[in-house]
């Protein structure tokens, strides 16, 4: 010990100390500036991303519709068996009706203004309401993609005819419809309620959303209990030895394995060995569960570790068995953390594309899956498919799909933050 009565520092140079202080404040300021600059960069990049998506995708949230009156005459549609009606004729009659009196109307071009599936839309409407047979049925029919783009201003009519998707004659036909007041552009519910389609004006995300939902459900049902059980065992029961060390290292490594590897694994194991159906949300969910499992195990262990030891001691000291200590005290206290981590893990799984491509969830499927065994797409793979399609309408839909996916992700993360703030107990 040194003699504490003799200070070894002399406080003789106030100038030097003041200069030192100034330099320390300057360093503080610089550090804060770097932080703010980094955050601004991050927010700026995010802003660019979202702005690009909104500019590219907002038009897909509306859809051009044309009001058409169909004459459901009994000659064409039999009351006894309306499904076998001559729907193609019903539609072409209605189109002719719209353009009667129009000089030099090109009826072949006119037939392509309404979406390709119009006859089925009319048929389904009549089947839902057979009472209209014999009278006139007015429906809002989606316009085919080129006309939709024309209406949205994406196709520029001032360009020379040779460089436009629509020639002057087609544009003239369109203008007739606009003049008749048949054209409207309401919110595009089809984007959420239709499944995929070859025709952009009909394509929607319903199949992808349902597929993603089923896949995440399978993923959650498997990875949540398994992950928690594994974490509880490793954290509370496992002896510290070489074997558990190896398990631990491997779990941490598993979290870093590229997702495409899990896809290959799913392909080899679930499809080829177990013979599960291709493109099924069940298989997608299983693969995603493999990927989410390490995340859940790691967050669960961290949450368990964060429970203060005094609570365990209190419970043990009361004569609680180990099982009771965990079930009554430790797990409930760790649950908010576990749930938060799980939701973030699921959000990651929701955005995962590569493994789903490998197990065939990028198939072209025109109806939402009715269960986990039916072929389906998922949100990210649907975006992938649309991004690959040349039609102008799919370009906007790709961006819109990304916005919808981001919306789901933000919602899930918001739920996670809410849980963290409102369920967490203080002790």
């Amino acid at each position: 010990m040194t003699d504490i009565t003799a200070p070894s520092v002399t406080f003789a140079d106030p100038d030097r100390m003041a200069a030192l202080r100034r330099r320390r404040y300057a360093a503080d300021l610089r550090l804060r500036f770097y932080g703010i600059a980094a955050i601004c960069t991050a927010i700026g990049l995010l802003g660019i991303l979202v702005t690009t998506l909104v500019i590219g995708g907002y038009s897909a949230f509306t859809q051009t519709h044309i009001r058409v009156a169909f004459d459901i005459s009994e000659d064409l549609v039999d009351r006894g068996d309306p499904a076998q009606g001559r729907w193609r004729t019903v539609v072409s009659d209605a189109i002719e009706e719209m353009f009667t009196g129009v000089e030099g109307a090109d009826m072949r071009a006119a037939g392509q203004i309404l979406t390709n599936n119009t006859q089925f839309i009319v048929r389904d409407a009549v089947l839902r309401n057979p009472g209209v047979i014999g009278s006139t049925l007015v429906l809002e029919i989606p316009a085919a993609d080129p006309y939709d783009q024309l209406n949205k201003g994406v196709i520029n009519r001032d360009l020379p005819e040779s460089r436009r998707r629509l020639n002057d004659g087609q544009i003239a036909l369109w203008d007739v419809l606009v003049e008749q007041g048949r054209v409207s552009r309401p919110f595009n519910w089809a984007l959420f309620f239709n499944a995929d389609s070859r025709f952009p004006e009909l394509a929607g995300l319903a199949g992808a959303i349902t597929g993603s939902f089923y896949a995440l459900l399978v993923c959650f049902v498997i990875s949540f209990p398994v992950g928690i059980a594994a974490a509880v065992y490793l954290e509370e029961f496992a002896p510290r030895n070489r074997l558990t060390d190896i398990v631990e290292v491997n779990i941490n490594n598993l979290a870093a394995v590229p997702s495409i590897v899990f896809g290959l694994l799913g392909l080899a194991v679930f499809l080829q060995t177990f013979g599960l159906p291709r493109s099924a949300p069940l298989v997608g969910g299983l693969v995603l569960a493999l990927m989410t499992l390490p995340t859940i195990i790691i967050v669960t262990r961290a949450s368990l570790k964060a429970v203060p030891p005094s609570i365990r001691e209190a419970a043990l000291g009361m004569g609680a068995s180990r099982h009771q200590v965990i079930m009554h005290h430790v797990l409930p206290l760790a649950l908010p953390g576990i749930l938060t981590g799980t939701i973030i893990g699921l959000a990651q799984a929701l955005g995962e594309t590569a493994p789903l491509l490998l197990i065939g969830m990028n198939a072209f499927i025109t109806s939402p899956p009715g269960g986990v065994m039916e072929a389906s797409t998922a949100l990210p793979t649907q975006i992938f498919i649309w991004a690959d399609s040349p039609e102008r309408g799919f370009v906007a839909r790709t961006s819109a799909g990304i916005l919808v996916l981001l919306g789901f992700l933000i919602t899930m993360n918001a739920v996670a933050i809410f849980l963290r703030q409102h369920l967490q107990r203080t002790w």
């Binding site: 510290r240 000291g317 009361m318 004569g319 609680a320 206290l333 107990r425």
Partner: protein, 275 residues
């Protein structure tokens, strides 16, 4: 793993004991207890009788093994990896380290109160009701309520919390929390209550209340208390044991230890020269 070779100090060492003619009979006895944390020995050949329905205090400098010994009595050391206990601790002649003994039941008979108040993050009622619930002590709800109320009364807390039994236990003051922990321990009807520095996180007023409470509880319970405060040991205990470097140096009636210690190290400690 073989026992580490006994250190030379261990052989030449003998606890100084003063008999107390007025002491209650002892049902809790330790005989030749050694504790190892891995290779390191923390307690050396500790033997002591704990008289029933009285307060015994363990004193000694930090790190001398008081808590270690206390935790041996209700086998809380079981959950520490690498901790090994040899020797006998018996309650009514029954060896607590017998392989057939049920630890869960043992801890219902020997309760514990910790240094830092550690109520569960649940309501006051739930805190006290937890023990009776897991041990199946209450036949029905009214039974349980009765146990909770009487435990809170015995712990001197009932009057202060009677109109907020369902408020969180963690919302009480430190002293109230510690009394809640005592109520929680009492609720399972233990014979022995172990207290590890129960007042070290409390202010003097809360400490005085707890000391008074300990004095009352002595009527019905055997109490073992670890304390750093010599005054506290002198005030509340009938028997005192002085530990130093893992050894039980001297034990005897509290008055004797404080007024007339027979061992030099005891004297040095209570006069403040070591510690």
């Amino acid at each position: 793993m073989a026992n580490p070779a006994p250190t030379p100090a261990m052989e030449s060492f003998q606890t100084v004991r003063t008999a107390d003619a007025n002491a209650n009979p002892a049902r809790l006895k330790a005989d030749g207890v050694n504790v190892f944390y891995g290779e390191k020995q923390a307690l050396f050949d500790v033997s002591i009788d704990i008289p029933e329905k009285s307060v015994s205090a363990f004193i000694g400098p930090s790190g001398c093994g008081k808590s270690t010994f206390l935790r041996c009595i209700n086998r809380m050391n079981d959950s520490i990896e690498g901790c090994r206990v040899t020797g006998d601790i018996t309650l009514d002649g029954e060896n607590l380290y017998d392989a057939r003994l049920d630890v869960v039941e043992l801890r219902a008979r020997i309760g514990m109160v910790f240094q830092k108040p550690n109520p569960f993050p649940k309501s006051i009622f739930e805190n006290v009701a937890y023990g009776p619930k897991i041990h199946g002590l209450a036949r029905d709800k009214t039974d349980l309520e009765e146990i909770v109320v009487s435990s809170l009364k015995k712990a001197g807390l009932f009057e202060e919390v009677k109109d907020r039994l369902h408020a969180p236990g963690t919302g009480l003051s430190g002293g109230q929390q510690q009394r809640l922990c005592i109520a929680r321990a009492i609720a399972v009807g233990p014979e022995v209550i172990l207290m590890d520095e129960p007042c070290s996180a409390l202010d003097p007023i809360a400490t005085a209340i707890i000391e008074e409470l300990i004095d009352e509880l002595r009527e019905n319970y055997t109490i073992v208390i670890v304390t750093h405060s010599m005054q506290q040991a002198a005030r509340v205990s009938q028997k005192t044991a002085f530990f130093h470097l893992g050894k039980l140096i001297e034990e005897g009636p509290t008055e004797g230890i404080f007024t007339n210690p027979r061992e030099k190290r005891t004297q040095d400690y209570i006069t403040g020269r070591i510690g």
